[in-house]
Symmetry: C2
Subunit: 439 residues, 2 copies
Amino acid sequence: MTRRLHLNAFLMGVGHHEAAWRHPRTEPARLTDVRHYQELARIAERGKLDSVFLADGVALQGNVAHNALGGLEPLTLLSALAAVTDHIGLIATVSTTYNEPFHVARKFASLDHISGGRAGWNIVTSAGEAEAGNFGIERPSHARRYARAAEFLEVTRKLWDSWEDGAILRDRAAGRYADTGKIHPIEHAGEHFAVRGPLNTSRPPQGHPLLVQAGSSEDGKEFAAHYAEAVFTAQQTLEEAREFYDDLKGRLAAYGRKPGELLVLPGISPIIGSTEREALLLEKELEDLIIPAYGLAQLSRMTGLDLTEGDLDGPLPDVPAETEGAQSRRKLVVDLARREHLTVRQLIGRLAGGRGHLVMAGTPEQIADRLQEWFTGGAADGFNIMPPILPGGLSDFVDHVVPELRIRGLFRHEYEGRTLRDNYGLARPRSRYEQAVAS
Amino acid sequence: MTRRLHLNAFLMGVGHHEAAWRHPRTEPARLTDVRHYQELARIAERGKLDSVFLADGVALQGNVAHNALGGLEPLTLLSALAAVTDHIGLIATVSTTYNEPFHVARKFASLDHISGGRAGWNIVTSAGEAEAGNFGIERPSHARRYARAAEFLEVTRKLWDSWEDGAILRDRAAGRYADTGKIHPIEHAGEHFAVRGPLNTSRPPQGHPLLVQAGSSEDGKEFAAHYAEAVFTAQQTLEEAREFYDDLKGRLAAYGRKPGELLVLPGISPIIGSTEREALLLEKELEDLIIPAYGLAQLSRMTGLDLTEGDLDGPLPDVPAETEGAQSRRKLVVDLARREHLTVRQLIGRLAGGRGHLVMAGTPEQIADRLQEWFTGGAADGFNIMPPILPGGLSDFVDHVVPELRIRGLFRHEYEGRTLRDNYGLARPRSRYEQAVAS
């Protein structure tokens, strides 16, 4: 069988471009309107995409004076999307730093039941300082956040396994609802958590929801190699993307995993026009709507440096070595500025579209060319699509780029199965508590 | 205008009767099937009921060997119900003991946006010991749980107020999305929580979701008088219900509140037949399906006493004075057994239908008579309807009891507004951060 690429639609308000809310093709009042997201999920499903994804943080981050912030919480939102779709996977970001594994395991189990096996969890550790302030604690160190995340994952996986698949009997005549020998307390006692279990929601249809991750630091990559089944990543060039791909896949063996058990999905914000000129015009329109003060604040957040007082038309100032929290994204931004000799203003323009992810303006054919190049060139198993404006940018992708990928034999014509794991071609895990069957 | 009663449908798996899952009119495989709950919500909405409600705990409680447990998590489920309904209120139970106020405020704000202003929160403090074991802590004392709950409520209310109603400008031309002078850090620093804020979801349509409570202890009643807008309560007789009603309403003035700002909704499990004989037959059918071992375990849980080794056909043994955790329900159970001279087996039968709530078998007219008696007799502002089997028991209520209530002028023919607060006739709170407008 031909190798097929996978496509995730990264949904973000009325678009990924930071000025999307000012563009005449968007309606910013839809930011908290569930029908907007339901429309997006339906468009993605019409295109037979693998999944939709919602990022999240637990603080008001970014400058709401100049951007459309204050939207919906991903888990509640995805349930409402599950109700109006049948095949599309539903991936929510939830932090392991400010949550309890019992709640998180249960909510994802519930979403997985509600969606008939379409739940995915993008695991983040919450680098931001603002987030710590909403939970009355000092922001834990990078290493400590990842140590907690690893134990958090151990606990949630045990909880999802705590009901074996055959546990529910529903024997009305005998009055036996479940075989309690197949429902297990997990009795977890670790450094960060003590959790008795079992879960009070039965085993999710997928066994475990799909586990997704996006950190690119050393800790992040090791965590991904251990736990993740799909990785979202920001890469600017084919070479860097290939290097990241090989690096990550090479780490899997140490955890007893095969390369095919983790899919690498670089992000791309496709600015689509029926001609190249039309695409470049749309890109220019969006660029003209950027508010420099906002862009500077974003750049400062992304790099962890205060650049708000800098010269817009000068080069990026020299920056100190890596610091806690924003390492991997800072390196990408600095490399980009140096490689292309960008002024701060130009850099802001380049980042406004995708916050460090690849932005590409072009025709559907040109965009398909680039995806094909990365996919066949050992840099990607698929892509995280970040439309600059929504819903228009997603329907343009689904209606014009996806057919082009199909013609080239790179993308599915129909869904192959029912679950998110089916979409991504990943196996359903067995419960760790299952007895080996005597042969 | 005539005083109208309010009706909440308390949804629980395939029915409130503990043997419901064994009854031929239910399908226990629907326990984790979202379509089952969507059907229930649509039935309730067809009857123009005020709301549906989901109870919850954060541990597997009760004996899953003999009962249909392990269902869905309420907040994720209610979002999926919001997607297929337009008017019905959506009330979820969430504990203040094992949660963080930022998460809870945000999820309810999100559900309120998703549903267009139909979210309600049933606030519980989690008396169970099993729950503490899933969060690695000792179960806090009753007093401490209520102290935490009160501060939890202060924080969540501040967070819902943190975006004033006029905060969002959406001025595209000027590039001003929000007036940051109307978005406020809450800077809460208390005994249990330190939360900076603001919330990262804008102000919910209802201002605050409807606040519901169900504790009947002294602490519980004071908490309700301070914060709750609707109270679910278990009452066996008109006299007791009236006493509770007067007690609770009498406590409101101390918090500067009027009697109409809190609605009292006793629970009732109506076993409905077109004749009294048919109703009694259904009751008997369900009773015959009870598993005594399960009933004993439930009775032990309800009273906080180990009765699993007791004599089924003897009277309830003498029980010690009140202990931590299960006070109010224990008193109700003991009073019921003594008042009606019940054996343990009979008591189990009486409790199997409603766990201490009133169970009544009869024709639609007889049930309407009882509701009318309590409503006009100063014992209730409405009722928490707990159908013994689902969906059948709910559609019987909606199709046969509700019309009878309408004929008597006691219940609405059409929804009067759009939000849950509109349904219950309760005001929308203003943000505490709003400046008084100069006249």
